[in-house]
């Protein structure tokens, strides 16, 4: 028996609609809602020595801004009705891979994401998060337009 639904949030309108759809499903199936904001980060990227020195501060700052700008408003909005357990998580990493490993940890039934998140050029170059999720995820993925 699964315990939760993972929603990938990036602050876009589509990801807001994904959160709404997830809230619906969570009510119906009595599941916990885990809102996840993944800060894109790669362990194999290249950085300068000065950036490395400040990395711990920058990580905190990125996490804080993701929480304040993206997560907290969404958590507040969805838990306002009082009938849902809503939780917010910030992680650093590859967006799709991180959502999948979070889904494992949280014993999720679905991963729900918005369709449009990034710019067209980025999607062309690196692939979109929904399409890599479909490739990677061991559980059903719901993509909300």
């Amino acid at each position: 028996m699964s315990a939760s639904i993972i929603v990938g949030l990036d602050g876009s309108e589509a990801s807001g609609r994904a959160a709404d759809a997830a809230a619906d499903a969570a009510r119906r199936h009595d599941l916990r809602l885990v809102l996840a904001c993944v800060v894109p980060w790669s362990p194999y990227s290249f950085s300068t020595a000065e950036e490395n020195e400040r990395r711990t501060i920058d990580k905190e700052r990125e996490a804080k801004s993701a929480r304040e700008r993206v997560l907290d408003p969404a958590v507040a909005r969805l838990s306002a009705a009082g009938d849902l357990t809503v939780e917010g998580v910030v992680r650093h990493g590859h967006p799709a891979e991180t959502l999948v490993s979070l889904a494992r940890e949280e014993d999720a039934a679905w991963i729900i994401v918005g369709r449009v998140g990034q710019s067209r050029v980025r999607t062309l170059l690196f692939g979109s998060t929904p399409s890599s999720l479909i490739q990677l995820s061991p559980i059903p993925v719901l993509v909300v337009p």
Partner: protein
Amino acid sequence: MNTSLSSLQAATFDEQVNDVFAPISDFIVGIVFYSVPLTFIDEGVVLPLIVVWLVLAGIFFTIYLKGFQFRAFGHAIQLIKGKYDDPNDAGEVTHFQALATAVSGTVGLGNIAGVAVAISLGGPGATFWMIIAGLVGMCTKGVECTLGVKYRRVYPDGRVSGGPMYYLSQGLKEKGKGTLGKVLAVLFCIFTLGGAVGGGNMFQSNQAFAQAQSVTGGEDGWLGFGAAGAVFGLVLAILVGAVIIGGIRSIARVTDKLVPFMAVFYVIACLSVLFANFTQIPDALWEIIRTAFSPEAGFGGVVGVLIQGFRRAAFSNEAGLGSAAIAHSAVKTNEPATEGHVAVLEPFIDTVVICTMTALAIVITGTWADEASAPGVETTSAAFETVAGWFPIVLAIAVILFAYSTMLAWSYYGLKASTYLFGESMFVDRTWKLIFCIFVVIGASSTLDAVIGFSDSMIFLMSLPNIIGLYILSRVVKRELFGYRERLADGALLPVAERGIKPSPTTGSTAATTGVDGSTPNPPPSVEDR
């Protein structure tokens, strides 16, 4: 008429810079490269003590740590792959990133120009001794970086930085040699400032200009006019200043991404030179081995060849100088020994792979013996030209990019040294960076001899306080490295995938909100192997 007059004046400008600079350089070189004449071996053979100092340290630590650099290799690869990285540390500096930052600081002109100088002066046999120096240098580098992480400093605001100045002052204090430690730390910082403007700056801008001038048509090309060096230096100084003073990170980010590709591309270019002449590969290898041991000059010649190889290897991979310990120290780890493992890969990539590629290309095409090109980038360029006419242009781009990234790295080392000496302040920060940019211009305007001499001497001086510290702290390093390897062998340290626990979602990056009713999230389920 007017232009010819201005170019005449400009020609004297470059010369003036050189005239002022050359005597200073000669004076310092004389002290640093104080050499013992070995007349009992052969007439005219001299042994620079500083080279002995560096190589002895490498040999001492290789024996003392029982060939650590060779045993560390496999585990180092696993570490940079991230097999031992805690998932909770995602977003922090990984082993890969620390290594990549350090490598982009060391892979520079030493790999292209320095190797050419070594072979032009010492013959093909210098390649062999360069590789040997690289292999022992791996151990010194591992020792430095272990200490760098162990004694690094975490500032109140969360910044992390380390380096010889911290292990000299802190580590020696623990050994009851606090005063000596402080003196050595200050000396190290002073020499680092010199090394940063010398090998980390002037040598780079000088050779970048030389290469740019030679691909645009030499003295007669559009970079052939008298003040070209100064103008080129000024443009380079503006680009450096834009990043380090102006904080335009995007330029640095672009070069950081280009440099690794350039390094790979450079190796491919060297390989294509080798393949184009593949019938001569056995001869070239034989020539390297033969001249490494028995050049025509007899035993005295062997020493001369050996010195050239060792000297250029040390200049290229910086093992024993302490600079890398600064770059490696920001890594996220609880085990200083892990960075010691990873750091051994740096001289390997730099010297054993990249320098050797350059050397083979030069030896196989025979350009090192060519009197027409001055020893330096031009020798390598001539070797590249034997394959295709446009190859030197690729080399020029690589040279300028390598030079630029090395300059950025050294401006940081110099900054750390100056803030250690004069305290953390905006004034110190800005003054140092401004001085650094001025030296970019001076470097591009000066002739090679003056620049190479000064660069070498200041960079090598860093090894004096650093290696004294390494000897005093050798027991500490041994305990760290061997203790870590024991725990690794006992199975106390497992790769993340085998640890059988998942990161707890309640630590670190998880938001505090758990839900309106205050319910706690479910405990994490058991691990699944990916």
